[in-house]
Each structure stands twice: as structure tokens, then as C-alpha cells.
């Protein structure tokens, strides 16, 4: 009951000034912010239940159940987020755009949340058409960004989930254009990179829809993260096996310059991604390799290798995660590709006595010295290509610091490295040949290497189940038998149990190896063998 019952009902006049209402709204807003923070904190606590049980004797399946619960919850959250997005897309009133962005952000967060993002739930709830709608032209940047981000995360899913992005591809490609803001373009590139990483089929779709030229142009400016993402996406896109895309890429105006420019930068991550592009260009397209070799790229790669200390090795077995920090390897692989693809390179660019050649050898030695097997292996592989070159190249390596390292690796390293090392050492001992027939020996090299104990390594290879390695072992054994001065060869081979090793092949299914081994045993360890003793 009102004591002041005489006052009449006063409503607020429509014409009022802003001060009071605004202050109240501001205070209200501050209080609401606190409430929201409380809610999100409690929600976080509810979801976080690692090791969270009161009683000690928890059944083992607890964890599964927890994961299921969390997964279930994430799925429900995701489908409801998609539902909200649906209504936000339909809503046109005041604040519509903010509403859309908020719901998109929510969905994106859910999709980024766990190790197993709820992609399936999102697809089931019909996320793709909505996201495509959110990508429509003229949408505000924030919205585009969030939508593309959602798609990126979806594309990171299983193959069929990645394929679900098909309807979104044209718009994602369209937003790569110069008119888009950098963050939007970058996010779209990321999404497309994920799609391209999925496989040949999707790569072909992307190529036919024209994804390559705009991605290539994104590499041109000097914006670190954009270039990195674009390079990453491109390396996925040109993976082939058809070399056409790689050839097309190197033909795009400015791309070669951009590659060189970015390789010169200090930014390791940027250089890595760009080097990946070089890897695929040089691995797939002879045309591209030819163009690259004529540029400064080799020089740059060598410099990179010489200066880089980044040894974080994360092997890119997962194409969809953009966290490849393996600078050295990539650079090395690029170098190797360029050296291997074109013998012309070796004879004209890596001329012995040139500064660059010494540089190459030096960085390769550095790699051989590293603790990382992949680096050692890749370096050996590059060296083996160089060692296959001219007599001068062989002499260069032979007299370098590499040989003792190689010799040690041959006896101690894991098999795959030993095999590469064996190629180097083998190549050092044979002279380049013009025609068919048995290679000519470089006696000095052979004698010295054998004397320094490399034979046992090769004999080990002979015993290997790997046919290629075994052949290499047999070939080298043949060199020793034939070429070690003073006819000491057979004796040395016998000392290293070479005969036993070769006798494995007596009835081997591989005819080539069988004949080779049997031939050697017959020829050098026939009936006359050992009579002298």
C-alpha cells in the first residue's frame, strides 16, 4: 500500500536524456559481465574432470565413460550451436550480425575444443549449408572469418568429413581474392589447404575451380603469416602426382621472386613453408626444377642450412596440421631434389672449387653431425647424388670431413641411413662411365675406404632382406673382390664373413641377386680358393 497514494501514475517520458539510462545500462553491463564470468568458470569446472573423483577405487572404465560423457556433451553442444546458427542466419532484426558472429564463434570454439572435434555432430546438424550462407559476399569480415574457421576445423576431420566441404569450396576460393581482408583470406587458405591435403581427388577439384592462382598471389606480398598459410596450402595443392599444378605454379608471375624473397627472411616458419613449396615443385615438375636451378634458390637453401639452428623435427605425416617446424629437413629436401632431378645442376652449378659447392658440402657435413636421423639420412641422400657426379665431385667429397662421418654412420646408424651412406661411399669408389659394363674403379678411394673398415658395413647390407640394399652390398663386394690392390680382396671379404653372407643367395628367389652372388662366390672363392694357404 502506498503511503503516497496521492501521486498519480507517472510513466517515463518518451523524451528523456541519455545520461541516467546510459549510466544504469553501463552498470548493469558490468554486473552482467561478472555473472557471465561466473557461469563460464563453473561450466569449465564441470567439464574438467581429469582425475576428479572423490573415492579412490575407481573402476577402470571410468575414463572411457568420462570421455563418452564429455564427447556426448560436446556433441549436444555442437548440434545446439548449429541450431542457434540456423536461427541466427534466419534472424534479420537489430543485432543480427552480432548474433551470427557470436553463434559462429561458439561453434568454432566447440570445433576447436578437443582432440576429437565434434565434426560429425556439426555435419549431422547441417552446419555446411549454414556456413556457406555465412560466407556470402558482402558479409562482414568477422563473420567470414569465423565461418571459414569453422570450415577449416571441419576439413581437418576424416576424409568423408573433409569432402563435405565441397559446396563451400567456390566461396572459400572467392574470398582468397585481393578484395578480402588478410585474416579472412588467410583463414580461407587454411581451410583450402586442409581440403587439398586430403587427397588427389579433392586437389583436382580445387585446381579445376581455380584455387591455384589466387593462392599463388597470396605468396607475393610481405605478410608473414599470410604467406606462410598460402605456401602451406599451395604445397598441399601441388602435391600431384600430376606435375601440371607444380608447373602452373612456377609459371605464375612473381612466384619465383616471392620464393626467393621469403627464403631470404629470418622467419624460420615462413622459410619452412616456402621450402615445402620448393620441395614439391622440384620433386614433381622438371620444368619447375629447371627454372629453380637457374635462380638463386640453391644458394639460398645452402645459406639457410648453414645458418639455421632450428632442429625441431616434426615430421609432416599429418598434412592437415599446420605445424611443420622442420626447417632444416625441408630445406635439405629441396636441395636434394634440385641436385638429384637434374644432373645438369651438379655439373654446372655445383662446380668444384666454387664457393657454393664448398658451402653445400659444409652444410651437409653439419647435417651428418646432427643428432637427428632424418637429417642424417637426407644429407646422405644429397651427398650420394653429388657423389654420382664427376670425378672432381667424388674427390671433393672424398677429401671432405664427410667421409669419417659416413664411415662411422655405416657401422652404427639405423638401416635406412646406412643404406644412403652406402650409396655415397659406393659412388665414391666408381668412376663415371660412358657406356654399359662394369664401372671403372677409383682404386685409391676404394683401398682407403676398405682399409678404414667400411667393408663390414657393406657385408651387413648383403645380409639385408631389402633387395636394393643387398644389391648395393653385393656390388660393393664385387668392387672389393676385383679392385683392392694386391688381390687382397677375397681375403678381406672372407674375413668379414662375406662368403657366408653371399651363400644366403644360393637358392634365393631373386634371380638377379642369386646369379650375382653365386657368380662372385664361384669366381673368387671357387675350387682354387685357399690353396695358397
Amino acid at each position: 500500500m502506498a503511503d503516497d497514494s496521492s501521486t498519480s501514475h507517472r510513466r517515463d517520458p518518451i523524451k528523456s536524456s541519455v545520461g541516467n539510462v546510459a549510466a544504469q545500462r553501463r552498470r548493469q553491463n558490468a554486473v552482467t559481465v561478472g555473472k557471465e564470468r561466473r557461469e563460464s568458470l563453473v561450466r569449465a569446472k564441470r567439464l574438467c574432470r581429469v582425475g576428479a573423483t572423490g573415492d579412490g577405487d575407481v573402476p577402470v572404465e571410468e575414463n572411457d565413460m568420462i570421455t563418452d560423457e564429455a564427447g556426448f556433451l560436446l556433441d549436444t553442444q555442437t548440434s545446439s550451436a548449429v541450431e542457434e546458427l540456423k536461427s541466427a542466419v534466419a534472424y534479420q532484426g537489430k543485432g543480427a550480425m552480432q548474433k551470427r558472429v557470436n553463434t559462429l564463434r561458439q561453434l568454432r570454439r566447440l570445433l576447436s575444443k578437443s582432440e576429437f572435434p565434434p565434426v560429425e555432430a556439426a555435419l549431422k546438424a547441417g552446419a555446411i549449408p549454414l556456413l556457406v550462407q555465412c560466407l556470402s559476399f558482402g558479409s562482414p569480415d568477422e563473420q567470414l572469418l569465423e565461418a571459414a574457421w569453422c570450415l577449416t576445423n571441419i576439413a581437418a576431420g576424416k576424409p568423408e568429413e573433409t569432402k563435405a566441404l565441397m559446396p563451400a569450396l567456390p566461396l572459400l576460393i572467392a574470398h582468397l581474392g585481393e578484395k578480402s581482408s588478410l585474416p579472412v583470406a588467410e583463414q580461407c587458405a587454411w581451410a583450402l589447404g586442409n581440403v587439398a591435403g586430403e587427397g588427389e581427388e579433392l586437389r583436382n577439384v580445387l585446381l579445376s575451380q581455380g584455387a591455384l592462382p589466387p593462392l599463388a598471389r597470396m605468396m607475393l606480398p610481405n605478410k608473414g603469416s599470410t604467406v606462410r598459410t598460402a605456401a602451406w596450402a599451395l604445397s598441399n595443392l601441388i602435391k600431384g602426382p600430376d606435375p601440371k599444378a607444380a608447373t602452373e605454379l612456377i609459371k605464375v608471375d612473381g612466384v619465383l621472386d616471392a620464393i626467393l624473397r621469403h627464403l631470404r627472411k629470418v622467419d624460420e616458419e615462413l622459410a619452412t613453408e616456402v621450402a615445402w613449396v620448393v620441395v614439391y615443385l622440384s620433386a614433381l615438375s622438371n620444368f619447375a626444377t629447371g627454372v629453380l636451378v637457374k635462380s638463386d634458390v640453391l644458394q639460398l637453401l645452402v645459406e639457410r642450412l648453414a645458418t639455421s639452428n632450428s632442429l625441431q623435427l616434426l615430421i609432416p605425416n599429418e598434412n592437415k596440421l599446420m605445424q611443420r617446424k622442420c626447417t632444416l629437413i625441408v630445406v635439405l629436401r629441396s636441395l636434394g631434389n634440385l641436385v638429384a632431378a637434374d644432373s645438369h645442376t651438379i655439373s654446372t652449378v655445383l662446380v668444384p672449387g666454387h664457393e657454393i659447392t664448398d658451402g653445400v658440402i659444409k652444410v651437409l657435413v653439419k647435417c651428418l653431425k646432427s643428432d637427428h636421423r632424418v637429417l642424417k639420412k637426407e644429407a646422405s641422400w644429397v651427398l650420394s647424388n653429388i657423389a654420382a657426379g664427376s670425378i672432381e665431385h667424388k674427390q671433393l667429397i672424398y677429401s671432405s670431413e664427410a667421409v669419417p662421418l659416413l664411415l662411422r654412420l655405416l657401422s652404427t646408424a639405423p638401416f635406412d641411413i646406412r643404406k644412403e651412406v652406402a650409396y655415397v661411399l659406393g659412388n665414391l669408389c666408381v668412376a663415371p662411365t660412358a657406356g654399359e659394363g662394369k664401372p671403372n674403379l677409383i682404386e685409391e678411394h676404394l683401398a682407403s675406404l676398405v682399409q678404414r673398415g667400411c667393408l663390414s658395413g657393406f657385408i651387413d647390407l648383403v645380409r639385408s632382406a631389402d633387395i636394393e640394399a643387398a644389391r648395393l652390398g653385393l656390388q660393393f663386394t664385387e668392387l672389393v673382390l676385383r679392385g683392392v690392390p694386391n688381390g687382397d680382396g677375397p681375403k678381406l671379404v672372407e674375413q668379414e664373413d662375406g662368403i657366408d653372407a653371399m651363400e644366403i643367395y644360393q637358392f634365393h628367389e631373386n634371380e638377379d641377386l642369386r646369379n650375382m652372388a653365386n657368380g662372385l662366390v664361384d669366381k673368387y672363392f671357387g675350387e682354387d680358393y685357399g690353396i695358397d694357404e
Binding site: M1, D3, S5, S8, H9, R10, R11, D12, P13, I14, K15, S17, V18, G19, N20, A22, A23, R26, R27, A30, V31, V33, G34, R37, R38, L41, V42, K45, R46, R49, G51, A52, T53, G54, D55, P59, M65, E69, F72, L73, T76, Q77, S80, A81, E83, E84, Q92, G93, K94, G95, A96, M97, Q98, V101, G138, S139, P140, D141, E142, Q143
Partner: protein, 872 residues
């Protein structure tokens, strides 16, 4: 038997503080020693016509306050206290009160009527005062009783009807009460005092008359009497009758159809020719009809098609007559009307009603108003120009954007030019109209605005020039800038449009805030609030450096307030107001800059200095803390995170002070919120301060002085503290949990007729649940067993709430979440309890079928938690 307490009652009103305090102490002692006798003595004092009016007045007030309080917990205590009093003493008190209704002193009669109604509100629902209605009616039916008694009796009946429900009486009594009231309005039988009292009583009894309004014959009769009364010769009675019509429009909208013809005539005549007090009520009648129809439209769900209350389209039907009537009122401006928000006159009420009509009918209003606008806006008489502008500004909400935007586009330039009109009133209304345009038709975030990027420069040019005009105009211009900036919030690329002007806007607003011709602080606070909105809505990527530059400027200004010479309490108030505004700006800047990782360091670097300033602001007052500084500190705590720890030793005293500020309960409420912010910022580093904080919070809860609105958040705050300190909360459990259980029990008993109480009850429930959630989650990993003894009570409370069909959605969410927390934290400990509670399955089922996704999600989680418990 009663004590003589006149002297104490008089002394308690003495101007001498010492005398006053002593008397208050004496009274309190008496009250504590013997409550029944104390109340009896008060009623004796009130009833005795030989006593001074002053002591009787205070006796009545103390008596009333011993029966009712705003705070639900306190009120419940008072009710229990009254019920515990011996029946014979109670009946003596009631007799004295009824006797007082016949007193010759009007004030005593009035107070007694109020106290009777309070007792009735306790006793009638419990059938403990069956003779009250009879004895009141007896006063009315006996011809020879004096008019003053009848007048007081009618007043009492009105208050009693307001306090109780018609279901508390048998229908015959209800009818008899209403008959007595309505007959009291009869011209033939009673003089004006009685008729006025009867009309006011009817106003209070309208809700009580629900069943009578459902009966057509009775309704016709009541309506006829009210309409007749609305044409009384006495203006006060006419006004009271129109007030009844306004209330009827809200309460009985759905049965008004047959009376609308008459009501239109009545209100129309009143608007055109009656005294202002009556005319205002007549306009209010139509505003109330609009309120009803707008509400019907808002809740109308076209797809569900279920039959809610019918929409009678009264406004639409009356539109062609109603609009000219309202437009006429706009021309009745007062000559030198004060340009402030408290002004309320015919033209203001008319414009307000016009705005509501626009919201009710939408597009249909536009062709009826535009001719008035177009013909008047160019007339030489300023009243015409002002009325035209006001009419235009009033109808901007409701009609479609398609309908309005061509008109606004065409008129915008005219309005911009009108900011140079010769008349202050015209400029004031023009600026307000511009602010309405920007509020309603400028939404770049949705790709729509009447302001193109090209004419933004022109618009801002005019606004920044006009902000130098007279203070009232400048204030409205602030409003225009406020909404202009707001439109660009989160507007994607468009949010950049304002960035180039930001520096200039900010410096103009600061210059405006610095003006000294405003008279009071209103212009300054509008300017600062506008500055806040401009900062809040700016595109942070482009403007962070500008905002970063603003920060030291505002800090400097705040520093300068410490230098103000304080001679009078007025100076103190002025300083406080200025500090409030500046702390508000800092709060917004802190919030804005700490929202991105790139800009947060700016705040972190300045945090020490900012905090120093806030502490100085606190230091300016001895007994109270500054609300706005407190709020800003909440933002700072969030920005600094655990770094806030270093400020705690110095700041803690003010936190304590805020928590003890019972009088300025908003301050206390905000401080409670800041405790939450600090808990989240410091996490377990808040531990050293928890004893102090908890002690004060518990005291706050127990206090009957503290406004009830602060209490629910205190429960939530317990949750915040428990979350922060985890197992260390254990020592508070024996104090806190009984409080929570007590509050839960009060919730269960809360009455459901009062809408405000229902809201409060919902808030309280939600906050109790939040407290449980925080405590359970806090103990979850370390010491859940502490909460086992309290699980049963909580479960019962959840069950009770789950059975309440009126429960609010937010309560449902909190209830379902806390159930999950209970299962999550206590695990197998509550397996048996859950097995015995059948309710939760159904409750979860209901929640899982909800349309609210968040609720569904929480229910799903809870279901998972409970399933886990059940299989363990």
C-alpha cells in the same frame, strides 16, 4: 497494562542527536524485553486523542514496521513474532486500532487503517480475524456514523483488499465489501470526502474484485459507477475515478469492449478540456491500453496458434480519432518548461502516448501523423515547430524501416538545419529526434542506416557544433552522439567509419563535460556516459592508441578531484559526482583495453597508478565507499588477474566498508559483486582475506536493515569464494549451510500472488543453487564428504522447486545444474538418496525436452552425472 511511552516517542524525534539516540535505545530495550506489551503500548498511544500528533504518528509507524518489512526473511520473522503474541493482547491491540478509525485526527485514522491492513494480511488468510470485515461493514451501514469514520473505514477496506486475496474470504463477504465500497461512491448518499475515499478504496480493491469483474452484471454496475464518478464535480474525485479506469484498462483489458465507446468519450473530453491532473490520467488510460496490446503482440506466437487472451485492437479501431486528440496535446507546451527528465505535462504525456500508439499499430500511424508534421514544422510559431518535431520523433519506433526511412532520409537535412532554430525548445526536441533516428534507424551492423558514409561528416559537424549550445540542447546532442556511436558497435567494416572522427568527438565530449554552465551535474554525466559509449563501441584495432591516450587524461582529471577544496557537504557531493563519472570512464576504458591481448598491457602498465587513484577516491570519504570506484576495481581485477594480490592489503579496508554499507545498499551490492571478481582474479590467493569477507557477508545476510535485493547475490558470492579456495571453505560450512537451508525454506513459503515477490523468490532460489554449485565444485576433488550431510536437504529443495510450475527458466537451469554438481561431487555417497527420490527423472525429462538449448545441454550433462553415480 500498557506502558506510558509518549515521552520516548517524542524524544526519539528530537533535533538533539543525544536525546534522540537515548530515546531510541530506551524504545529498543522496551521492545526487546517485552514485545507484546510494547506493541500494545504503541496501539494505546495511537488511539488516544489526547496525545500529541507527533508521538501518535511515530507510534503508528513503529507499529507498522513491527508487522511488515520489504525483506522477505525479515517479514517472515515479523509474521512469526506477531503470531506468537498472546491472543488476548492481540485482540486488545486490534480493538484500539479499530477504535482509532473513529478518531477526530485524520492522520491517526490513516495510520490506523494501514496497520489494520497489515494485521489483516497476516490473520485473514489464517482465519484468525473473522470479525474484522463484519465490524468494518457495520461502520458503513449505520446511517448515524460520522463521515470521518466512513471515510477511514473505506480507506481500511481498500488497504485490506490490496493485502489479501479474494479467496481468503467467502464470496458473500467479498460481495459485501465491494458493495460497501461502490455504494460509498454514490453521489446521492455521501459527501465528497466519503466518495473520494470510496473511489480510492475501489482502486485498491480492483484486483480483489476479480470474480465480480467476471460477472457481466456486476461488472456493468461497477463500470457505470466508475464512469459516473469520472464526471463528478470535484476534480480530485474525477482524478481518482480516472485512476481506477487506468487500472481497469490494465487488469481487465479483455472485458472492456462494450465500454470502449463510453470510455473514448470520457477520456476524449477530459484530454480536451479537463484539469491537467485529470487529463493526464485520461491520456494514461490510452497509454495503458497500448501497454496491454503491445504485450499481447509480443507474446503472440503466430505458429503455435493457441488461444491466449484476445487482442481487441482498441487502438487500431480508435486510431483516426485518437491521433488528432494526441497531436492536439503536443501544442500545449508550457512556456518556459524546465528541460529535464522529471517534467510531466500534457504535451509530454501526449507525445509519450503517441510513441506507444506507434509501437502498437506500426505503419498505420504514419499517414495520420505526417500531415501534422509537414504543416506545422515550417510555421512561425515555435510551438508548432516543436510539436511537429516531437510528433515525428515519437513515431520512429513501431513503423517499419521501409516506411520510415524515406521520410527520415528526406527530413534529415531539415532536422540538421533546425539545430540552428531560434528557439531553444525546438532545438532541444530536434536533437532528441536525431538521437531517436540514430537509435532506431541507424544500424550499420545490420547493413542498414539512414546515414551514409558520405553524410556522416555533415552529421557529426552539426552535432559537434550544437553540443556547444545551451546545456539542455547539449545534453540531447550527447544522446544523439551516444546512439550514433552505438550503431557502429560490431559493425564489421562500417565500424571503421567513426574512427577518423574519434579524436575530435572525444575532445568535444570532454570539453562539454568541463562546462560550468550546466547548473547541475546532468550535462557532465551525459557527456561522460556518451564518451563511455563512444569508447565502448569503437573499433579497437584502429582506435586503441587513441583510447590509450585518453587513459592518462581521465586519470589526470580524477587526480585533480582530490585537490577540490571541500568546505561544505555540497562540495563533497560535487566531488563525489565528478569522481563517479570519471571512475565510470575508467571502468569502460579498462574493460575495453583489457579485452584484447594486444591492448591489455596498456592497462597492466598503468594498473598501479590507476589503483592508487581509486584508493585516493575511497580516501575522500570517511564512512562510505564510492560505488563507481568499486565497479571500476572489479574491471581492474579482471584485467590484472592474480597480480591484483598486491593491491589487496591496501584495498581490503574499503571492501570491508562497502560490505557494511547497509544504507546505500547498491554500494553493498556492487561490493558483493566485486568480491566475486576478486575471487576469480586471485583464486586461492584470496584466502588470507576470506575470514574477514565471510564474516561480513554472513552479517549482511542476517541484517534486517540491508535491502533484500543484496541478499541473493551474497549467496552466489559464497559460491565464488568456495570455487576460489576449494577445501579451505570447510570452516565456513557450519555457518553458511544453515543460512542457505534457512533461505531455501523461506523460498518454499513465499507467497505467489505478488509478482515482485515471485521475481525475488526466483532470484533467491537461483542464487542459493549457485552457492551450492560453487561449494560442491570447490570441494569436488579434495573433500566432497564435507557436503554429504547437506545433500538430503538440497535434494529436497530441488524437488520442491521442480514441482513449482511457476518457476523461472533461470531457476530451472540452476536447479538442474546443481543436481549434476551434487552427483558429480558426491558420487556414490548420494546413490541411495537419489534412488529414493523419484522426482529427478521426470524433472530431467522435462528439461531435456526444453526448447532452450543451454538447458537441454545442462540436463544432458546432469543425466550423465547421475547415471554414473547409479552404476558405481
Amino acid at each position: 497494562m500498557a506502558m506510558e511511552i509518549t515521552q520516548f516517542l517524542l524524544a526519539a524525534q528530537s533535533a538533539d542527536a543525544k536525546v534522540r539516540t537515548e530515546a531510541e535505545t530506551n524504545l529498543r530495550q522496551f521492545q526487546e524485553q517485552n514485545m507484546p506489551l510494547f506493541l500494545l503500548s504503541l496501539s494505546v498511544e495511537l488511539s488516544n486523542d489526547e496525545k500529541p500528533v507527533e508521538s501518535r504518528r511515530l507510534a503508528g509507524i513503529v507499529l507498522k514496521n513491527s508487522l511488515d518489512a520489504k525483506d522477505a526473511i525479515r517479514k517472515e520473522q515479523l509474521v512469526q513474532q506477531w503470531m506468537a503474541i498472546d491472543v488476548s493482547i492481540k485482540s486488545q491491540i486490534k480493538d484500539f486500532l479499530l477504535k482509532t478509525l473513529g478518531s477526530s485526527v485524520p492522520e491517526a485514522r490513516h495510520t490506523s487503517a494501514q496497520v489494520i491492513a497489515k494485521i489483516a494480511s497476516i490473520e485473514i488468510p489464517r482465519k484468525q480475524w473473522p470479525e474484522l470485515i463484519g465490524s468494518l461493514l457495520n461502520n458503513m451501514t449505520q446511517q448515524d456514523k460520522p463521515a470521518s469514520l466512513k471515510q477511514a473505514t473505506l480507506e481500511t477496506l481498500g488497504y485490506v483488499c490490496e493485502e489479501i486475496s479474494h479467496q481468503d474470504l467467502v464470496q458473500d463477504e467479498v460481495n459485501a465489501v465491494l458493495t460497501a465500497v461502490v455504494q460509498g461512491m454514490n453521489l446521492a448518499d455521501h459527501g465528497p470526502e466519503v466518495r473520494l475515499a470510496a473511489t480510492k478504496a475501489l482502486y485498491n480493491a480492483l484486483e480483489f474484485a476479480q470474480t465480480n469483474f467476471e460477472n457481466e452484471m456486476e461488472r456493468n454496475y461497477i463500470m457505470k459507477v466508475v464512469c459516473d464518478t469520472a464526471m463528478s464535480t470535484e476534480v480530485e474525485i474525477r482524478q481518482a475515478a480516472f485512476e481506477c479506469l487506468v487500472a481497469i484498462a490494465s487488469a481487465y483489458y479483455e472485458v472492456l469492449e462494450p465500454y470502449m465507446q463510453t470510455l473514448f468519450q470520457l477520456t476524449s473530453n477530459a484530454v480536451k478540456g479537463d484539469e491537467e491532473t485529470v487529463a493526464l490520467q485520461a491520456i494514461e488510460f490510452w497509454s495503458s491500453i497500448c501497454d496491454e496490446e503491445i504485450e499481447l503482440q509480443e507474446f503472440e506466437s503466430p505458429e503455435s496458434g493457441d488461444s491466449g487472451p484476445p487482442h481487441s485492437c482498441f487502438i487500431e479501431k480508435a486510431l483516426s480519432s485518437l491521433i488528432p486528440l494526441l497531436l492536439e496535446t503536443l501544442l500545449k507546451q508550457e512556456e518556459d518548461q524546465d528541460q529535464d527528465d522529471t517534467i510531466w505535462n500534457i504535451s509530454m504525456a501526449g507525445g509519450t502516448c503517441l510513441g506507444l500508439v506507434a509501437r502498437t499499430v506500426g505503419d498505420a500511424i504514419v499517414p495520420l501523423v505526417m500531415p501534422f508534421v509537414e504543416s506545422n514544422i515550417v510555421k512561425p510559431d515555435w510551438r508548432c515547430r516543436e510539436a511537429a518535431t516531437y510528433a515525428f520523433g515519437s513515431i520512429l519506433e513501431g513503423p517499419s524501416v521501409e516506411k520510415l526511412s524515406p521520410l527520415v532520409q528526406a527530413g534529415l537535412e531539415f532536422l540538421l538545419n533546425a539545430m540552428k532554430d531560434g528557439n531553444n525548445h525546438v532545438k532541444d526536441t530536434t536533437a532528441w529526434t536525431l538521437s531517436r533516428i540514430f537509435e532506431l534507424l541507424h544500424s550499420p551492423a545490420n547493413d542498414f542506416s539512414v546515414i551514409s558514409p558520405e553524410n556522416l561528416k555533415r552529421v557529426l559537424g552539426v552535432l559537434l557544433e550544437s553540443i556547444k549550445d545551451a546545456p539542455n540542447v547539449a545534453e540531447k546532442v550527447c544522446g544523439a552522439i551516444y546512439y550514433l556511436a552505438q550503431g557502429y558497435e560490431d559493425a564489421g567494416p562500417s565500424s571503421s567509419l567513426l574512427s577518423p572522427y574519434l579524436t575530435e568527438i572525444i575532445s568535444c565530449l570532454i570539453a562539454t563535460a568541463d562546462r560550468t554552465d550546466g547548473g547541475d551535474s546532468k550535462l557532465r554525466s551525459s557527456a561522460y556516459e556518451t564518451l563511455n559509449e563512444v569508447v565502448r563501441c569503437s573499433n579497437i584495432a584502429e582506435t586503441s592508441s587513441i583510447i590509450a591516450q585518453l587513459l592518462p587524461v581521465i586519470m589526470n582529471k580524477l587526480g585533480q578531484t582530490m585537490e577540490i577544496q571541500i568546505v561544505s557537504s555540497e562540495d563533497r557531493e560535487k566531488q563525489g559526482d565528478l569522481q563517479a563519472s570519471l571512475c565510470g570512464v575508467l571502468q569502460v576504458i579498462i574493460q575495453k583495453l583489457s579485452s584484447t591481448d594486444e591492448t591489455k598491457p596498456i592497462i597492466l602498465q598503468a594498473a598501479d597508478q590507476i589503483m592508487l587513484l581509486f584508493l585516493k577516491v575511497f580516501g575522500c570519504r570517511s564512512s562510505t565507499v564510492h560505488e563507481e570506484a568499486m565497479l571500476a576495481i572489479g574491471a581492474l581485477a579482471y584485467a590484472t588477474g592474480s597480480q591484483f594480490e598486491k593491491y589487496m592489503p591496501e584495498f581490503f579496508q574499503y571492501l570491508e566498508m562497502g560490505l557494511q554499507n547497509f544504507e546505500e545498499y547498491q554500494v553493498c551490492g556492487i561490493t558483493v559483486g566485486v568480491v566475486g571478481d576478486i575471487c576469480r582474479a586471485l583464486d586461492d590467493k584470496v584466502l588470507p582475506y576470506c575470514d574477514g569477507i565471510m564474516g561480513l557477508l554472513l552479517k549482511d545476510l542476517a541484517s534486517s536493515e540491508l535491502h533484500r535485493s543484496v541478499k541473493p547475490p551474497i549467496f552466489s558470492c559464497f559460491g565464488d569464494i568456495a570455487l576460489a579456495i576449494g577445501e579451505h571453505f570447510e570452516k565456513y560450512v557450519p555457518y553458511v549451510l544453515p543460512m542457505m537451508q534457512g533461505a531455501a525454506e523461506i523460498c518454499a513459503k513465499m507467497e505467489t500472488s505478488d509478482e515482485e515477490m515471485v521475481d525475488y523468490g526466483n532470484q533467491l532460489r537461483r542464487c542459493i543453487f549457485e552457492a551450492y554449485s560453487g561449494i560442491l565444485q570447490g570441494f569436488k576433488t579434495v573433500k566432497p564428504e564435507v557436503m554429504v550431510p547437506y545433500a538430503q536437504h538440497l535434494l529436497k529443495f530441488i524437488e520442491l522447486v521442480s514441482r513449482d510450475s511457476q518457476r523461472d527458466e533461470s531457476v530451472t537451469k540452476a536447479a538442474v545444474a546443481v543436481m549434476g554438481d551434487l552427483a558429480d561431487a558426491l558420487g556414490s555417497n548420494i546413490k541411495l538418496m537419489l534412488k529414493e527420490s523419484a522426482f529427478y527423472d521426470e524433472f530431467l525429462g522435462e528439461c531435456l525436452q526444453s526448447d532452450d538449448e543451454q538447458l537441454k545441454e545442462t540436463a544432458g550433462w546432469t543425466q550423465g552425472m547421475i547415471q554414473r553415480v547409479m552404476v558405481l
